[in-house]
Subunit: 133 residues, 2 copies
């Protein structure tokens, strides 16, 4: 599996944010999306650190998107939540580790697969995950 529950939660939270006008508290969002509140906290914190979402602290605070939904690619959101989007360890976390890399005949194939996936995720945006009217 490439895309974890965490990543899909992140996208759902962002899509829910997009559907609102003002900033929304995580309490509401988590409830609406049926995502465990404390888990949602951990996820949103990643998005804030990455600048994908902005936060307002204190009472009446909450979160809001910083751009229009169609300006977030799935790729850039998921890069924040997934340990690796690579299809194999060979092109992901353990990329450096493999002594075969220089001559491995499979490696170019896995790189091509990664590129195929990343193309897909770069061509789709948050807007594609929103409820159509």
């Amino acid at each position: 599996m490439i895309i974890s529950t965490k990543g899909r939660y992140a996208l759902r939270i962002m899509a829910a944010l997009a559907a609102r006008e003002k900033c929304a508290s995580l309490r509401e969002l988590a409830e609406e999306q049926e995502i465990p509140y404390k888990y949602a906290e951990a996820i949103v914190s990643l998005l804030v650190k990455a600048g994908l979402v902005e936060s307002t602290r204190g009472k009446n605070g909450g979160y809001a998107l910083t751009r229009a939904p169609e300006c977030y690619t799935l790729s850039e959101v998921l890069r924040q939540t997934e340990t690796s989007l690579a299809a194999t360890d060979c092109t992901g976390r353990k990329e450096q580790d493999c002594p075969r890399a220089a001559t491995c005949p499979s490696l170019p194939v896995w790189r091509a697969l990664d590129e195929t996936v990343d193309d897909f995720l770069s061509r789709h945006t948050l807007a594609d995950l929103m409820q159509k009217p």
Copy 2:
């Protein structure tokens, strides 16, 4: 990660088989490919059960491919080793579990991603993973 070490081992074993004329013992293959012998056993057993590889028991026994390398798609080999080739749980193991499925705006996107990946894996074969002369 979509493709596990187990899957890549399977492909390497099959590619090594393809590079030989007669049937080869797993002892040799595992050593050549630097794959733990006992793990290789478990993997080859899956391939035999699926009819991708044929085995000869007893002394001088071993394994051999049943087709030419270009006639094995990566997709059909990996289906034997991977729990799921789906990019998300939503379209994989837990496909049945999600009560949102009927109206989920994300689901079609994940299905399209799965199709993109499967297209890729169906267009590439064992021959693409072999050392070019």
